[in-house]
């Protein structure tokens, strides 16, 4: 079993004790790695109904079979998995960079962390040595500062660090885990799970070999993908970057603007990717062994935020730009940088601020309620002031830092209608009213509102389906996309590289076999993609999530798009959602309530978890 390290590290922070178990071939083939392996470990090692912040709640860190190889965009990922404090269901987030490669070389496919340290610590994994070190001096500092401090203390420039910021320390439910300074396992609030364990950072150094089964076949694939990555499939990422989405989507009125009050941002030209690239992007850097480097590093050249540097992508651009009605790039870039500083998920942070602004405009919140902040849409200074409050969890920050769902419960006054979230996770930059396949994808996404669980926006935006229509057949589309995305997140390939796979399953199977030598069939891999989805669904089912949680935000279902243009009048009705859900559950082999059937678990080899669904049936 090559490619894999073949070992799983179990660590109890309460006792400081750790042990290693072998990863057997059967488990590797069934769950592949990344989120698949991580969710398998989570489900088998956690108890039903556990509080995400309870010391016994496991936090799983995993890498994929391709990690630390030279496969472009595939050699550098890692994933965190636990119960999400934001959704109460499964939380998972993948990040890339260099961190994962060291963990693989240290000899682990996954690390399962339980318990809680008495005082702030950081974990240092150096091959076989696992050490808990004092982090009291690091507490209160940003992930970037922590990375520098640990490198200094360990005395090794190549040690890789994933750390939480102040948000994670304070158990803020939108806290992320940042590695390599600018890369984040952003979504589902897993930084807070780390914080609840008093675990400030994980530092890794690995020196072992990573050997693959069929180097010749592997390298011929690498060569082929290098060529593809120079071509049209990766051109956007290599050149203008994902910020280009803004213009494309804005032309189709698909950009949620001012907390879904509009779907077209009139000032999009002021923050277009052309301007970003001309005036802000200092360099495009790459993750480990990537051939389509895409990390657009933006620097503010003048004004009060001079020399602020951060990574800019469509997601954070949207969150602080159109979503908050802000068209000043200096402020948007500063906002993104502040999120990295405090360790906040930028998309959720933007979602919270636009929610506050919406409440403010509707006179539900006033200046007095908001520590004197004038939270009009478009007020860029107010946006930054609110990030400080949320990041430090100070003053009104305490009301809002845990996300819009919780904030709306606290404020009341029908504000849940303004809270744009699914399952407690804030929405992303795709207007679900006029991208109906994406709407279904987000409604059934096991981690809450997120386009990255199925990537259906591409299908909608490219006109492969009628994006304004809800019809039978969309369920099957989402099922197939989800299965592929599960494999992408389990092999851990970058989603930006999805377009470079021309025959997804066939090429992924070839790649998996060339790396591991396990010689699985394409059907086995396809089934693994489906298995991983149902595994996630089982975690959610165990934690009490049902069909009613597979829903859409109030505005998506009740407030049609008013902007003139190609999306005017679009809304997803209850009937349309129900139609698509039924269609999807049927395609998945789930019952009407969205619960996997016994027959499905048997097909997928998940009968060890049968009690989760039989208890529901009873």
């Amino acid at each position: 079993m090559l490619g894999y390290a073949g070992r799983i590290l179990y660590l109890d922070l309460t006792t400081g004790k750790s042990y290693v178990e072998k990863l057997n071939e059967e488990t590797a083939k069934k769950y592949i790695g990344g989120i698949g392996l991580g969710m398998h470990l989570y489900l088998t090692k956690s108890k039903k109904g556990i509080d995400p912040f309870c010391p016994e709640n496991p936090l799983v860190l995993s890498v994929g079979p391709l990690t630390a190889t030279v496969f472009p965009t595939g050699g550098n990922g890692h994933a965190f998995i636990s119960k999400s404090p934001a959704t109460g269901g499964v939380g998972e987030s993948v990040s890339h960079g260099t961190f994962g490669t060291e963990l693989k070389r240290a000899g682990y496919d996954a690390v399962v962390i339980t318990g809680k340290a008495e005082k702030p610590i950081y974990l240092l994994i150096d091959d076989d040595s696992v050490e808990l070190r004092d982090a009291s001096k690091l507490w209160g500092r940003s992930p970037s500062e922590v990375e520098d401090a640990i490198k200094e203390e360990v005395g090794d420039f190549y040690v890789r660090v994933a750390a939480i910021g102040v948000a994670g320390e304070k158990l803020t439910k939108i806290a992320c885990i940042i590695n390599d300074k600018t890369r984040a396992a952003g979504r589902t609030g897993l930084g807070a799970v780390m914080g609840s364990k008093n675990l400030k950072a994980i530092a890794v150094r690995g020196t072992n070999d990573v050997t693959i089964a069929k180097p010749e076949e592997f390298f011929s694939m690498v060569k082929e993908f290098h060529e593809r990555m120079k071509g049209p499939a990766a051109q956007k990422y290599r050149t203008t970057g994902s910020t280009e989405n803004l213009t494309i989507q804005n032309n189709l009125s698909c950009v949620p603007t001012r907390n879904y009050n509009n779907s077209h941002f009139e000032s999009a030209e002021n923050i277009s990717s052309t301007i970003i690239n001309q005036h802000y992007v200092a360099k495009i850097i790459g993750c480990n062994s990537c051939a389509m480097r895409c990390e657009h590093q933006a620097i503010i050249k003048d004004g009060p935020y001079k020399n602020t540097m951060t990574r800019i992508e469509y997601d954070n651009l949207w969150a602080f730009g159109p979503n908050c009605g802000v068209d000043k790039l200096n402020f948007i870039i500063k906002a993104a940088e502040r999120c990295n500083y405090y360790g906040l998920d930028a998309q959720s942070t933007g979602g919270i601020i636009s929610f506050i602004m919406d409440c403010y405009e509707k006179n539900i919140l006033t200046k007095e309620n908001l520590d004197g902040i004038d939270a009009h849409f478009g007020n860029a200074s107010a946006m930054l002031a609110l990030i400080e409050k949320i990041g430090k969890r100070e003053g009104i920050g305490t009301t809002f830092a845990d996300g819009v769902k919780i904030a709306a419960t606290k404020i009341g006054n029908k504000t849940e209608q303004l809270a744009q979230h699914i399952k407690g996770l804030e929405v992303t930059g795709y207007d679900l009213r006029c991208l109906k396949t994406t709407a279904l994808g987000c409604a059934v996404s096991f981690r809450g509102a997120d386009h990255n669980r199925s990537g259906a926006a591409t299908i909608d935006l490219r006109g492969k389906v009628d994006r304004l229509k809800a019809e039978p057949g969309r369920g099957k589309i989402i099922k197939e996309l989800e299965d592929q995305y599960n494999l992408i997140d389990s092999l851990i390939i970058c989603k930006n590289a999805k377009g470079t796979f021309y025959k997804e399953y066939e090429e992924m199977t070839k790649l998996y076999n060339a790396t591991t030598g396990l010689n699985i069939t394409q059907q086995e891999l396809e089934l693994a993609g489906e298995r991983i989805q149902t595994l996630a669904k089982l975690i959610n089912t165990r934690e009490g999530l049902t069909r009613k949680d597979d829903t859409l935000p109030w505005k998506v279902m009740n407030q049609p798009i008013t902007d003139d243009g190609p999306s005017k009048g679009a809304v997803v009705t209850k009937n349309e959602l129900d139609l698509m859900l039924d269609d999807y559950y049927q395609a998945r082999g789930y019952d009407k309530q969205g619960i996997p059937t016994t027959a499905k678990l048997e097909t997928l080899g998940l009968t060890e978890h049968l009690t989760i669904i039989t208890k529901k049936e009873a």
């Binding site: 030279v70 020196t207 070999d209 990573v210 180097p215 290098h226 790459g286 480990n288 480097r293 590093q297």
Partner: protein, 172 residues
Amino acid sequence: MTERHQDRKIVVSDPERCSGCGLCEYVCSMVNEKTFNPHKSRIRVIRRGLVNMAVSCRKCKDPVCVASCPKNALSQEKHTGIICVDEHACTGCGWCIGACSFGALNLHPDKKIVYTCNSCDVFNGVPQCVQWCTENALQYITAENLAQKIRQKIVSQLLETREVAKTENCNK
């Protein structure tokens, strides 16, 4: 085969192009050690935010690493300038590592002896790291050609600025 020092080619990295991805490290370890392990690479990437660079042996004239070895384990190939390590003589003391101004020598984690760039496949053209670099940030080039290229680049930049200035003046 020539013996002129100026004809020796070395691997140089362009910090403006290097994305810091470390592909060269992986390729190097695969070619020479049949595994993926940057710790066994003869070229090493320094990743410092915006400026990234890969460093390997410069094939110096009268190399200080060779001179510093107390066991005479290091020697320089006359034709190519490659630093050769006598695996039996090297004790892994690391004196040469400290002597090299570029950090181009490393201690092999398994063999416990030093090793450095061997210009793999040099007689077939260019080393593998240069062949695989997707950013064209690496070149296998003589010092003289490198200097030429830099001069040409700087002069064309200078001319470009003057052309722009000229056009601007005409427009006034």
